[in-house]
Amino acid sequence: MALQDLCNFQNILLEGETAEQSPVRFGKKAASSYERGLRSSSLLDFYIPVAEYLDESPIQFGQISPDQSSSSSDSSLPPGLPLASSQPVPLPFPMAHGTTTLAFVFQGGVLAAADTRSSCSGLVACPASQKILPIHSHLVGTTSGTSADCALWKRILSRELRLYQLRNGHRLSTSGAAKLLSHMLHPFKGTELCVAATLCGWDDRSSSRGAANGQETDLEAMPSGKVSLIKSSFLKQQPCVRKEASLSGPSLVYVCSDGSRLQGTLFSVGSGSPYAYSILDQGVQWGLSVDEATSIAREAVYRATYRDAYSGNCVDVYHVTSKGWTRRTREDLKEEYYRERERQKEEAEKKKLIHVLKT
């Protein structure tokens, strides 16, 4: 079997560089030969539109260059990137994933929050979409990118995790789930699949692990340990509690379809993420109470929806603890906006009064 594959592999190489002759057409000339061999001999016998932007930095996944956006007819991707030249005020960066989602870890578990606006090329496709999807009782995933892709992959992930649980008698850890998702998405790297999810979960290792599974624990712990070595020194400054209890407790991993898989304590994804980051950086600490954490998350999403055109409508807040996830009632940010407007009106009145008194 392996030899046959190898021969096939060689044949593909010898066939030459013309993409048109191979059964699977490629949009990019410099596809790796491994991928080519894999694709021609596998079941994936269809056109894979490998986009030109692969030539650019992998961080730029999902972002279409201005000349490509005009030619692509597929509108399933998040809002077409506005051309810098057509904007009256230059954007700080092109929009990626028209949404705001955030998640952070604190002493009371993991908090995930997101807005509810689905946008499509400048139109609000749905003002009440759900961007935080529960995967199982102790794992919740925030989604960003193409809504269709996210919904599908979340379902696939739920199914796979359930199968794992049935086969092995315990739930897969968050970092294990992240690894699974990342490996499932890998064959689609370079295609237009766009999924940027943060998996927020509570790992429960202490009680459910038997002695026989001790080996697996170590194996699973090692990769996440490696990831934590690579992450920045900022994250190394976690209090001792976190380091020792990395196998159980709250856990937050960011997975994205270009292959990144990052463990951390605070993530925000989407076009509204910079606005949210500054609020979160100010307020998030390990020692927050649940109410304080909820209010910071709400404020961060609100600030993002205030400034970002592609985020808006309502805010969802999910809280994951050792007992599972709970969901706060969906709150319309319109009310918050009007409250702020009232406050500004009052201030304007005061301002006018002072101005009149001065002159």
């Binding site: 700080p92 092109p94 976690q238 910079p274 100010q282 205030y306 101005h355």
Partner: protein, 274 residues
Amino acid sequence: MTQIPSSQASQSVSVRRPFPLSHGTTTLGFIFQGGVIAAADTRASAGGLVACPAVHKITPIHSHLVVTSSGSGADCMLWERILIREIRLYQLRHKRRLSIRGTAKLLSFMLHPFKGTDVCVALTLCGWDKDDSVENLEETLGTTDDCSPSVSKDVLSKTNLQCCSGPKLIYVCSDGARLQGDIFSVGSGSPYAYGVLDGSLRWSLSKEEAISLAREAVFRATHRDAYSGNNVDLFHVTAEGWKQRQREDLKEEYYRDMEKKGKKIDLKMQKLPK
């Protein structure tokens, strides 16, 4: 501060950026009861390299006007000098200072011939207009470029008084935009600054609160944005003129913030190569 990413320019850059930059900086300005605050970081970046960690992004034009700059460093420096010269000439010719709105208009019209070229200038004029006294009103009505001759003098005098006194904040950009407002933040770090400012900015802030808010906003932006960093400059413009606060290294602020959050900074670890 880097060049504007017109679609042609980005392909000629040898170092791939994670995203096309508009203006690699963080500058902000806002109005409150005590005047105008202008703040900016001090990092000049060029394609992923920090070209200079101690640049002046806020420049005084005259005693009651400072301008924050963003975009191409060379262009900003040149246009600031040109603006200073033009304002001074106006003052000598007409024996009065040009209003902030007039300055913005002048700058916008000077930049207009370069629209569509690679000139990249995004300035925020932060200043305080002196009150026009009644005696000078007839003079100003004749000479100021804000007035249109068809409007009656009464209406003109009222609008002139209202618009030509007090704190002013106007954003002028080489694309042609000219916007008056109460709060502006420009640059790649601007979303981070907006998040902090929108939440806490009130008209009724005290001077110390406003300064600390501006510092906090720039600090948060420099924390997250790679193209902003190093120090923070802060100017405060009142009816008496502008005052510059001492340049502050944000490294200290970062350490204070980490300690506040209970995270110990392990200096030994920081030296390890990653």
